[in-house]
C-alpha cells in the first residue's frame, strides 16, 4: 500500500477558492477597523458636549430651577423666559451678590 500526501494532510483548506481565501481575512480586518472607528467617533461625540474655555459656546441658553411651576412669574401661561424689561420693572428691593470672570 502506498502512502500519498493526500491521505496524510487534510487538504480541505487548500481547496478554498481565491475569493474566499482573500475575502474572509479582509472582512475581519474591515470589521476591526470599523469597530475602532465607531469607538473613536462615539468618544468624540461625547466630548463635544463639554464646555471648553475660549471656544465659542453655541448651546441653547437654559435656566435651571428646582420647581419652575411655582418659581416663575406666569409660568403657567407662557413657559418661556424673555428677560424683558417689564419683569424687572416689578418693584423689588436692592439686590446684592458678586461678579467674577475667568
Amino acid at each position: 500500500m502506498t502512502t500519498t500526501w493526500d491521505s496524510l494532510i487534510p487538504l480541505g483548506a487548500l481547496s478554498l477558492g481565491f475569493l474566499k481565501t482573500v475575502a474572509v481575512p479582509l472582512a475581519i480586518a474591515l470589521a476591526v477597523i470599523l469597530l475602532i472607528y465607531a469607538v473613536v467617533y462615539a468618544g468624540s461625540a461625547k466630548r463635544a458636549k463639554r464646555y471648553r474655555p475660549g471656544r465659542p459656546f453655541t448651546f441653547t441658553p437654559v435656566w435651571f430651577l428646582a420647581a419652575p411651576d411655582r418659581q416663575l412669574v406666569g409660568a403657567g401661561e407662557h413657559r418661556q423666559l424673555t428677560g424683558a424689561a417689564g419683569a424687572a420693572d416689578r418693584p423689588h428691593g436692592q439686590t446684592g451678590g458678586a461678579s467674577d470672570r475667568w
Partner: protein, 138 residues
C-alpha cells in the same frame, strides 16, 4: 425630566427643551438638579442657575432675569455666560441678610476657578453647596 429647565428667549416656548443638547451631560444635569433641590430645601430660598449669553451690561441683564422670579427678594440667581466668561450672582434684598456679598464673592471665586478649567457642572454644584451652606437654615 431632570431639573426645571427652561429655554431662554427661544423662538418656540418649550418646557421639556433641548437642554439635553446643552453643555451638560445627563449625569451632570442630575447633579445640578440634586444640588438645586438640596439648596432650596435646606435654606427655603429659591436658587436658580442660568447658562447663556447676557446682554451688556451683564450685571443689569442678570438682575433683569432675577426680577422674573416669583419672589426676587427671597431668590438667588447664578448667571453664567461662557462666551463672555462672566459669572454673576444676584441675591434678593432679604437674602442679603443671610448671604452677604463677601460670601457670594468667595463662592464666585471657586466657581470661576472650576469654569476656567472647563468644568461647568462641577463649578455650579460646588457654588450652590457653598451658597446654601453660608445661607444656612431659616
Amino acid at each position: 425630566m431632570t431639573a426645571g429647565e427652561v429655554t431662554h428667549a427661544a423662538a418656540t416656548p418649550t418646557w421639556h427643551p433641548e437642554v439635553l443638547d446643552g453643555p451638560l451631560t445627563t449625569r451632570q444635569l442630575l447633579r445640578v438638579d440634586e444640588a438645586l433641590r438640596i439648596a432650596d430645601r435646606t435654606t427655603e430660598l429659591t436658587f436658580s442657575v442660568y447658562i447663556g449669553d447676557l446682554a451688556d451690561p451683564a450685571r443689569g441683564a442678570a438682575e433683569r432675569l432675577h426680577g422674573e422670579l416669583v419672589d426676587p427678594d427671597q431668590s438667588v440667581l447664578i448667571a453664567i455666560s461662557p462666551n463672555q466668561r462672566v459669572l454673576e450672582i444676584v441675591t434678593g434684598e432679604r437674602v442679603r441678610r443671610r448671604l452677604p456679598d463677601r460670601e457670594c464673592k468667595l463662592a464666585a471665586l471657586s466657581m470661576a476657578a472650576a469654569f476656567g478649567g472647563g468644568d461647568l457642572a462641577g463649578g455650579i454644584v460646588s457654588g450652590l453647596a457653598q451658597l446654601a451652606d453660608h445661607a444656612g437654615k431659616p
